[in-house]
Assembly symmetry: C2
Homo-oligomer: 454 residues x 2
């Protein structure tokens, strides 16, 4: 039976017009191959069928969620079957006593979040894309978000996975219990592996009782280092804010150009803190205000109610859309030890000047996880070249400060060369051995994360 015949199923299409719409995720500087088919299964059994055919014919398979990724991890590879999980959208179980939810991978983060909230529960991981990205994609990339500083990242909430292996076998791994050490932690190995080790077809996540509505404070600074010092001092005081975000001057300018938020003049950095500890929240934010002032904040506003809190956090939530107005952009995500944040900002400013590239930078300061937004004009080769040079300089800066090239976006295609620098020779070789153990034919998202064995 020929390949195309084997692939024939109502959930598979080879229509080039349809395929074209599935070639890219949202990574800057993205390139993608030309796929041969798009499969949109609704059941694990259909994924098994695809992987069996792919194995038999050694066809590359690129698993995809909502393609909101920022590193090219979901970009097409030449001749590949694009395996979109977007139709596997069933919430299979919400366990109100043990605080878990079991879902198919195509369930959108926001859909799950709202479904569990209706039952008094809370799914904390909240990547910027949460209104459109899927749980499967969040797991595959180990997505982060604003809540990480208090609640942790996606992998901190994944308990059990069903994974279709490269050869079509179905693995269930992990457990639904709160603890467990029976065997190797394969759940964590698959989480963040960007579709290179298996296809995630079911996810059980841990939930928490719903948190109280957060209160918010905003502190304005005349210089980034004072904002950075506020971060380290506040977190050393024993506080665990539910959000602790920083925006630099170019970010503030972009937001102000998009919508006037009435920020004071001469602001060089803004820090936004939230506490969701209910009755303790006003106390937490007063403590924040005190630390910020002692570090040199020019002004601190503390919300007195939810409406005011929402208004104050709006600036941070607007940053993404405001920066989209600036041109094409690459949203980077270096993470450094938070003691090095000030040096990181200084370095990005220097890179921006040296390469004549606008790089508004904001992000999760509490985790040291910053998003330099490299702005460029995709139609102008010189602008692209300068943008890429700035990107490389930022990667090198992050590593020089003891950080990592990616705090939450993943490696994909964009950062594969830089990953090799970060991991070193032994690290790359171990990664390749792991890849080889799970995908001996090299058909799972080939060329992403790790270079194939020579």
């Amino acid at each position: 039976m020929g390949l195309i015949a084997e692939l024939e199923a109502d959930f598979v299409t080879t229509d080039p017009d349809v395929l074209a719409g599935y070639r890219f995720d949202q990574a800057g500087f993205g390139t993608a191959g030309v796929p041969m088919a798009l499969a949109r299964p609704t059941e694990t059994e259909e994924v098994v069928r695809i992987m069996r055919v792919a194995s038999r014919h050694r066809i590359p398979v690129v698993p995809q969620g909502a393609r909101t990724g920022l590193s090219g991890g979901a970009n097409a590879v030449d001749g590949a079957i694009l395996l979109s999980l977007e139709r596997m959208t069933r919430i299979l179980d919400i366990d109100e006593i043990n605080h878990t939810a079991t879902v198919q991978p195509g369930v959108v983060n926001a859909v799950l979040s709202r479904a569990v909230e209706d039952k008094g529960l809370f799914y904390p991981p909240d990547p910027g894309s949460w209104e459109s990205s899927t749980i499967g994609g969040n797991v595959a990339t180990n997505a982060g978000g604003l809540c990480c500083v208090k609640y942790g990242v996606t992998s901190d909430f994944v308990r059990e996975l069903e994974v279709v292996l490269a050869d079509g076998r179905v693995l269930r791994t992990g457990r639904r219990t709160a603890k467990g050490v029976a065997g190797y932690d394969l759940v964590r190995l698959f989480t963040g592996s960007e579709g290179t080790l298996g296809v995630i077809t079911e996810v059980t996540v841990a939930l928490r009782p719903v948190a109280e509505a957060p209160l918010t404070a905003v502190a304005f600074f005349a210089a980034p280092p004072t904002a950075c010092r506020t971060v380290t001092e506040y977190l050393s005081s024993g506080q665990r804010p539910s959000v602790l975000e920083l925006m630099d001057k170019p970010t503030i300018d972009a937001v102000a150009a998009y919508r006037d938020l009435g920020f004071p003049d001469d602001v060089e950095a803004v820090l936004i803190a939230q506490s969701d500890r209910g009755p303790a929240a006003p106390h937490d934010l007063e403590a924040f205000a005190k630390v910020a002032r002692s570090c040199g904040a020019t002004e601190v506003l503390v919300a007195s109610d939810r409406a005011e809190a929402d208004m104050l956090i709006a600036a941070r939530r607007l940053a993404g859309v405001a920066m989209e107005q600036l041109g094409d952009r690459l949203v980077d995500d270096v993470c450094v030890p938070r003691s090095r944040l000030a040096e990181f900002f200084e370095g990005v400013t220097a890179i921006s000047r040296e390469h004549d590239v606008l790089i508004p930078t904001c992000g999760h300061a509490g985790d040291g996880n910053m998003h330099p937004n490299v702005v460029f004009d995709a139609a102008d080769p010189d602008s692209v070249r300068r943008g890429q040079a700035a990107f490389d300089a930022i990667m090198a800066l992050g590593l020089r400060l003891g950080g990592t090239i990616t705090g939450e976006h993943g490696v994909g295609m964009l950062k594969r060369d830089w990953l090799e620098t970060e991991l070193g020779e032994v690290g790359v070789s171990v990664h390749q051995a792991v890849k080889q153990a799970f995908d001996p034919l090299g058909i799972l998202n080939p060329g992403k994360v790790v270079r194939p064995l020579p």
Copy 2:
């Protein structure tokens, strides 16, 4: 050069009397082989040397910490080099701003805990063995403890590892930053792998600001199910106690026989809760008392100060030593969804009767992680046989209730057969493939966790 000559170093001994003292960890029903040498290196470079020699001659290597493990993971294998990390005891760094500590693997948990406490920091993982077990051993087994219900297990705190691979290469993996998704999560893969994938020679853990001194409450129940219902209802109310422990009647009797704590009569179950939320702690414990009473507690005591709190938690801390007085014992550690705790207690009681074995059961009720203590007389073959039958029945019970065979002690030798039942055929095969990728010669703690490939 002969093998013995190659091994000759001041950190290696082949003295049979010395070796005899290193053959066993603290697992019940333990068996161990006869080792050929004991190496006690102080530096990574010495571990490298051992692994190179071991690789060249295909000699099994059994990594050991303090040998306080309860599953036989550190037990000797015939002809093996016992690789004790107990002399690698240096605290290399405590980073007071980024809240991390970097240590050699032989640093005792309590030594690290106290060192960081002196700097206002807190290392939460607190296995029962914390006064003697090492950080390396804690990482190798992914140790748990009383604090897990609020703070998580060892793996939630491991950021970066240095690992000597089977062939002697040195891998650094993970990162010191709060977040990071650069490549596969090998840190989690090594954590809990019980020395079967590599030898951990350096660990960087995350710390927290020191917690407030906890307050304690104790609730007494006339029947275990009411205690179990208190656990689920209290945790569903949004509370996150720092400790939530349960003891059954046989445990209470053992403690009472060891030291009179003045518990009321006719108590069938005791629940101990702590809160370390400072000013909010009295409120938390009043909420606990209210839930416990509504579930049918016969009496609830809430400590009004630290001294009273210490007295109330003493019963739980005494349980281990009190049960040691009963005879030989196997400390089991099944973890079930907490909604199934009542059925678990019912099942253990039935197993105890059926096999005529005393099985005091206590543990981390908030996590559903219970420790049935199978008491037997090692000198009486029939008692041993009944104890082993009870152990098997407990494993089966845990799995039947949707749980795992090991919540925090690990697989070692004791639970290897049961691990295969839990993982299933595909799971075992993937475990073997991972083992093969890291240890192609099968020299790293052979026979532990996973059976070798045929």
